[in-house]
Amino acid sequence: MTLVAFLFYFFIGTAALSAIVLLFLKNIFHAALALLTCLLSLAALFILLQAEFLAVSQILLYAGGVVILIIFGIMLTTKAGGQAVPITNTGLLPGLAVGAGVFFLLLFFVHKSLFALPSSAQETIVNNNIERIGIEILTDYVLPFELAGVLLLAVLMGAATIAGFKHVKN
């Protein structure tokens, strides 16, 4: 087993494990850390799948953005100094049954051809993916790129308006 293959399965393992742990944790702050582990393992997998730019974005946007936001959310919605609210489940067994059903449904009907890698020496293609992504974003994908900018502005403004609303006591 080469080092790359070992890392590949190692990170698949950590991602899967931290996701499963996330499902059963009782403390919400620990859950956020489990999510962080999962997201970072995915970033490592992205590198192994030759998506270096996305790996960096994953770390910046998810680990640096989403998880921090979530942790802020947790801090702002628990009373200072108080005990963290334990996470409760409702209908755990039916939920797990649905989840397992979906999981096997997704695996059962999969076509083998889906995973056929192009035989033409996929390892030899030395491509500068980051440069290619840059060009694609500013040519083919320029419209979604610009619209994402509009969306970010709208969301920034809207979220600030909603979160900043102070209830006037009368």
Binding site: V4, I12, F46, T77, L96, I137, L151
Partner: protein, 100 residues
């Protein structure tokens, strides 16, 4: 290294995300479940992109998904914050002004 194992991982993450959404009674945790589901889709997009080395469609889509995930989290937390101010809880079951 096979894409099959990646696909199995992504199906697992998606299912776990779905279970969290269905089962957990805490809005922030549901948000985490949604992030897991989005990441499962991202993993698929990047893995399937390996089978078409000529284009980078899958990777670019994954990039947009990340941007939107950040937007969703920001919107979600803004709303959760206001809900908490009104109800002093972020447990959806205890929030029941609207009834049908």
């Amino acid at each position: 290294m096979s894409l099959q194992s990646i696909y199995i991982l992504s199906a697992l993450l998606f299912s776990i995300g779905l279970v969290i959404v269905l089962v957990k009674r805490n809005a922030i945790l549901v948000l985490m479940g949604i992030e897991l589901m989005l990441n499962a889709a991202n993993l698929n997009l990047i893995a399937f992109n390996k089978t078409v080395p000529a284009s980078l469609d899958g990777q670019v889509f994954a990039l947009f998904v990340m941007v939107i995930a950040v937007c969703e989290t920001a919107v979600g937390l803004a709303i959760i914050l206001q809900v908490y101010r009104h109800y002093h809880t972020s447990v959806p079951d205890e929030i029941n002004e609207l009834k049908g």
